[in-house]
Subunit: 337 residues, 4 copies
């Protein structure tokens, strides 16, 4: 960590800072510039709160040299994490998984029909929203408990492990039969929820917040891992920018960058990111080529009737076509690394 002092720092504050740092076993090297003094802090600076130092009147700027996350850091865990979601269903370290299913659980017929169809096309996990975060209090809020029951039914019929989103700590008891608990973009920094998920022994699918930096995403993963749960799957799902032609801007460079920084699996959700069915296939192919460990894709069953699926949903036939294209890209992408 580097601390840049203002010109002519007050000596008393400087002495306070130095003794506080030494109390944490941090060594300090001074570099006197023409107008400013730079302090280089040496030792285990991950425990030093950067905001506390930044707050001092005598400090102009502080810069971390080491990352503030440990459990998620590839430097300390060079090998890819491989998460076994269910017997034989692995993700990470060369294991690729496609999670598919409808935006919302609507009925037993719907949820089971789509499950069978995506399984036949090669999806490895099944998704469906039971608790739905909706911008408007007047919009459909999901089937909730009953939605989770119907997902379990689809799991029983197809054998596919299920993924669904949690919205509040108090709902967690309902998630016992859920194989992967999803944390949505709006909850990426719901720190109390993250701490609670850290106590579980179950994979967590952590979506990047709408305006979160990659470091913040990794710090949220660190919250879960610090509690003891190391089964975290990261998901890029688009960020908010000024562009209005698409719902969000899918940040595919985050895939190789995250994989440099962390050993955790990284997947991509092209459906929510673009909000546009015609962009899902090229973005699924691109994400695969970029080295993603998996994809999350929305599939609905009956476009003619469906008034409840988002404009980003594919029909089962279109999803099958995406799977073929992704499967063709995969070996090339893998060899290309």
């Amino acid at each position: 960590m580097i601390v840049i002092l203002k010109s002519n720092p007050e000596q008393k504050q400087l002495d306070n800072l130095i003794s506080w740092l030494k109390g944490m076993n941090i060594d300090i090297h001074f570099t006197e510039g023409s107008t400013k003094t730079i302090m280089g802090l040496i030792g285990d600076t991950a425990s030093v709160d950067i905001d506390l130092i930044q707050a001092l009147d005598i400090v102009e700027d502080v810069k971390r040299v080491q990352e503030p996350y440990k459990n998620a850091n590839r430097k300390f865990h060079p090998d890819d994490t491989v998460i076994e979601i269910a017997p034989g269903v692995k993700i990470g370290g060369g294991n690729f998984q496609v999670i598919a299913g409808p935006c919302s659980v609507e009925s037993e017929e719907q949820i089971c029909t789509v499950a069978e169809s995506v399984k036949a096309s090669g999806a490895g996990l099944y998704r469906g929203g039971a608790f739905k975060p909706r911008t408007s209090p007047y919009a459909f809020q999901g089937m909730r408990n009953e939605g989770i029951r119907l997902l379990s039914e689809a799991k029983a019929r197809t054998g596919l492990p299920i993924v669904t989103e949690v919205m509040d700590i108090s709902h967690l008891p309902l998630f016992e039969n859920v194989d992967v608990i999803q944390v949505g973009a709006r909850n990426m920094q719901n720190f109390e929820l993250l701490k609670e998920l850290g106590k579980l022994d179950k994979p967590i699918l952590l979506k990047r917040g709408l305006s979160s930096t990659l470091q913040e995403l990794l710090m949220s993963a660190e919250y879960i891992m610090a509690g003891g749960n190391e089964k975290v799957i990261l998901c890029e799902r688009g960020i908010r920018t000024f562009e209005t032609a698409m719902r969000n801007t899918l940040d595919l460079a985050s895939v190789p960058l995250l994989k440099e920084k962390t050993h955790l699996p990284v997947i991509v959700d092209p459906s929510h990111a673009t909000g546009n069915a015609s962009l899902v296939k090229p973005m699924a192919m691109a994400a695969t080529a970029a080295g993603a460990d998996g994809l999350m894709i929305e599939v609905h069953n009956n476009p003619a009737k469906a008034l409840c699926d988002g404009p980003q949903s594919l029909t089962p036939e279109a999803f099958d076509d995406v799977m073929k294209a992704v499967n063709a890209i995969r070996p090339v992408a893998f060899n290309g690394r």
Copy 2:
């Protein structure tokens, strides 16, 4: 609501859409353009889910003509809402309040000293963080229960109503003696929490999310109000942009714009927005001139020792100076309207 159809829409889907809309007592006017057909929907379209229509294959675009919020909408409540936080402590409709206090509750001495000092300078409410949302799991998470107890102590000594942030539904029982419950930027779209706050009879201070549009802020207020709690105070606290010279970009034009759209009080937090003590005073003055109903300002007590206050905190003396400047601007701003 306007629905723009694609060229040559499939007749069966179009018939489905028309009969679904008529089932909701919506009238439809058609305008046939040279290449496209436009449907104008007439009736109570607030209950029509825009996403459902957008999802249809035959639909190119949908545009709302009316706002999707009712309780928060000034059109239906032309008069400013005035919230009485405690006997004689009102906000809105010409009543201006300054909420001041430290970022975090640290000790009884700290919290009571600052309270007396900001009261003497004219603050109307007292703030302090007991539960702290921190990006890192390794950073100080607040004094939690004990923090709320100490705030109550400061309230007992000074008579100032207290404002503090809630981070999870399960903590709400601790907030009985809290006068205003704050929802932080990261929880602005924690919809389950908002619903729970809608059941209370207590003012809620709702901060704008880091990348939330003003309409999303109003929809989150609507979540609380739809539950029956109409005492919502909106707070502009800066949005995330590409600019790195300040922590966030304070969007002061949101103040007059929100006041056009809603009858709820709107306050501004220049401390968190800028993250820079030297910008707090000019931004407090500017926010007042822009017509804000109040301010939220961070004040700490001992800058020489303080390792726990953010770089945005003012000393009590600096806060006193800000209050004088704000009080001078207020009558001019008020007359200027």
Copy 3:
């Protein structure tokens, strides 16, 4: 075009608007809603200035139903544009080109060595900066005239057509021997320059501005095309967001989206977008999988000595590796469409 009127519009202004529209042979259909009136404009609305209507006091909102660009619009030119840059060097409509070379022209040896090397690896065009847009007036501004002379030398030796950036209309006479004139991100809306380029019969490589929407990019292409020059190649090069871990956010979904909207070739520059050599290969592969018509990649010759190449530059060996990976992805991507 749809015009939403405010409640109770002043009759005189409304009559003015109606007669002005009728004077342009626009038909108007009225839809009376419960609180608002909607006007549907029918006819050739591309010539109607949306800002003029938006400005009227009686108008609440205006929405275009048709795109404001014609020459660049795929609706009116369904087939992909194929541009023949030099005999046998085509781009678009299934023709894929990689443009490679150093950030800046530095010396004859450098520029010729790199040219031979990238040609051997399969690049179809050669790039190098002669005029350099630099944020600081104290930074190296490029070799300018002499830089263009050296690029011509490299072209003579290798036969590769050359691409270089223009910064001002007054420099255009120097570009006679340049095969593709590049308009940089900062000049995407230098409208006087665009008009001048519209008078040439030479391919223009138009880079997306740092914070430009895709529609603005297409409107800038329209500026060039409206002048008669239809040889425009669009280039996605990353947009500015809040993320600081990379230089910019590469928006790969823009590739399939642009190709829906326009018939022009679309290429991707992963070097400038990410500013990070280790991300160039995965992003080159992803861009190819997303359907790009080409790539623009920075290559330098001597990393140990080079003090003048950006951190995003590849060595010739690394570039050769990227070409192999891209060539493996291409047939799969093409079949996948």
Copy 4:
């Protein structure tokens, strides 16, 4: 400047770097951390190109400790710059100016009528667009030469100095009688134009780019000043964000921040920033309270007929009302400092 080296840097590259730095009379202090080495560079580092060092394989990160601008830097020129635009018309250092006028010059009658009206309300300078940067090639591009002639006519009649925008170097000869040359947001990084303006002895009004950082704005001012023209007025006019309820996000905290960093005058354009006439008055008041040295406000003459003014334009009566409010705020804002 601080250079953070990667672990185990190649010795030959490190030796190259050290000897290159010593050749520029830079002293180097080394701090060896547990995993990384930090180099502190001491001396005149403003001439060191940060990108060159960043590019080296052995370098992980570089951080400037000193600002890269000199002429614009308040550290080297502590006193406010006061620019005398015309005899008795000063800006900066406590001198406040309002620049008002229509978006576009349309006719002699329009331009002279508005000029007389804004002068009567107290505007100190007159503005009007002769060359108009328009997103669409089909939109009105301004009256150009004739527009400048009409502005001169208005200047002759009222005595108000005139401000108008330049779009290309080749038009500069037409600007002889113009008192302040405006560089629009889209040209803020048109470096060749900035260099040319640096050769003039005439005030330049430099608008912040749509997605420019404040440091980039200062570097563009530095381009002009490095050429010898120190009469630069900076203008905040809103930045592009995800918010769609307003045209841009007016960043008022930039005013006090810029005034900390530079001695140049800083003005605010609330008309273009918000694109909404009802927000101009509160934002003009807020900008004044924030310490701006002036304002730029759009005023048009005949709202009932005007099809050519933007929705952000005020009538002369509304402008008069804004001037009264601003004049009331000014002494309070000034005393508040």
